[in-house]
């Protein structure tokens, strides 16, 4: 069976009837191009594919147009889906829920939003969940091949920059997998997007990486440097002041960092840490440019 179909079935297994049957019935249409399934209380279910968005009619057929006679998700459905994605153990996913997402087997993620329950100014829980966004994980093995061929030695540090949805996470995951067979890699997966560990087992193929799952990146960087003696630390979406401090510490200890950052990554602060020598720009899931920090500063 094709990997796309396996992943699709795995992702929709957390949905309840009749939605699950309808999506299974439309497997041929969706399996290869689906990216998200969005459930909103008493609103039509929408299926986001790479290029288009579909709604499901009451008869179970996909349509691009939204009308009153669409399959809707009621409150009970949303509640049941949340219970299923938490393996009927909401209490054990409390930290993830308060962060707004739950990682599923297979590396898929369910984004959750509703009414925040605040405790000492931070979100401690979400009640009255109103939307669930099921994001279907897709690994693109080999997407970093071209880059690695041109830049085989990444020990000067690499910063991968791009807008949201430009493919940074997919790229860095494949990079981590490939590099893990040549270097000692510590993979910092704060939000469960890279390795997507469930019960300590990475759901995505990250090769021989040592995975720090759920740690704040700044803490994980220091712990990795102290305890795992990595050649390279790989992490997603850096930017906070604490993370930049930890980056400097990594540089001082001679550990290289491969990281991603939103937008052009040229805001200066990240580059001032001197932890990166190469900048990779992604656009629409492709490498649009590779520059050295010197080029970038000169420009």
């Amino acid at each position: 069976m094709k990997e796309d179909v396996i992943r699709y079935r795995q992702a929709i297994s957390c949905l309840t009837e009749p939605l699950k049957s309808v999506l299974l019935q439309n497997e041929a249409v969706f399996a290869q191009k689906i990216t998200e399934i969005r459930l909103r209380v008493n609103r039509p279910v929408s299926v986001q594919c790479t290029a288009e968005r579909y709604f499901i009619s009451n008869t179970g057929s996909p349509t691009a147009f939204c009308s009153d006679s669409m399959l809707k998700a009621d409150r009970q459905t949303i509640e049941n889906v949340v219970h299923t994605i938490c393996d009927y153990s909401v209490y054990s996913r409390q930290n993830e829920i308060s962060e707004g997402f739950v990682t599923l087997r297979g590396g898929h993620r369910a984004g959750i939003c509703g009414t925040a329950v605040l405790s000492s100014g931070t979100v401690s829980n979400i009640r009255d969940i109103s939307s669930v966004n099921l994001r279907i994980a897709r690994e693109v093995r080999g997407c970093a091949d071209g880059f690695l061929l041109r830049n085989p030695d990444l020990r000067g540090g690499v910063l991968i920059c791009g807008a949201p949805n430009s493919g940074k996470t997919t790229f860095i995951r494949d990079l981590a997998r490939q590099l893990s067979y040549s270097y000692k890699i510590s993979l910092l997966d704060e939000r469960g997007e890279l390795a997507a560990c469930v019960g300590g087992e990475p759901q995505n193929d990250v090769g021989l990486c040592d995975v720090y799952c759920g740690y704040p990146k700044s803490v994980a960087m220091l712990q990795a440097v102290r305890s795992m003696s990595p050649d390279i630390i790989i992490c997603d979406e850096i930017g906070s002041a604490k993370e930049l401090e930890a980056l400097e510490e990594c540089r001082r200890c001679g550990v290289s960092v491969v990281a991603t950052a939103h937008a052009d990554g040229n805001s200066g602060q990240i580059l001032r840490t001197n932890a990166f020598s190469t900048l990779v720009y992604l656009d629409e899931r492709r490498i649009s440019a590779i520059k050295t920090v010197g080029d970038s500063r000169a420009a």
Partner: protein, 162 residues
């Protein structure tokens, strides 16, 4: 005559055994409810310090405390729990109130955050305490009564036969 005496003795002992059996049912119910309480306490501890999924926690606590419930991980937890409650042998002589409390216990397990789970279990435990007390009272009131009644019914029948 000796045969008659033997027959009478058999009748008396059979009636007494019936009374004892009825009395034992009361003890079995109380013991079951007590083991349910131990199970709840173990579950609270596991929830606080382990945080694993509800199927494995319930399974582990049931094994630890000898509480006769077995949940099937292939179904939604609530359905699985209800089936497990339905499968509790009649041997334990549970009444409708006991079964209702058991079902209610499973209906909320795993559905809320940790605080919610602990409050739910405390509430169930408080209600269970009153059922255990009631079972204890039944034993005090009825256990000896059943045995005595058994003996006297047997004895009366024997006297009539003689």
């Amino acid at each position: 005559m000796p045969l008659k005496i033997i027959g009478c003795l058999l009748i008396v002992s059979a009636a007494f055994s019936a009374g004892t059996l009825l009395s034992k049912r009361l003890y079995r119910r109380r013991d079951f409810l007590s083991s349910f309480k131990t199970f709840l306490q173990a579950l609270k501890t596991e929830l606080r310090y382990n945080g694993g999924d509800i199927f494995s926690l319930v399974g582990a606590c049931a094994r630890q405390t000898g509480f006769p419930i077995d949940v099937d991980g292939d179904k939604p937890f609530e359905v699985s729990w209800q089936e497990a409650v339905g499968g509790i042998p009649r041997y334990y002589s549970l009444c409708a109130k006991d079964l209702e409390l058991l079902t209610e216990c499973g209906s909320q397990l795993g559905k809320t955050d940790l605080e919610g789970q602990l409050s739910h279990l405390s509430l169930i435990e408080a209600r269970l305490d009153s059922l255990i007390a009631e079972a204890g009272e039944s034993i005090a009131k009825k256990s000896r009564l059943y045995k005595t009644m058994g003996f006297f019914v047997g004895a009366s029948a024997a006297i009539l036969l003689l």
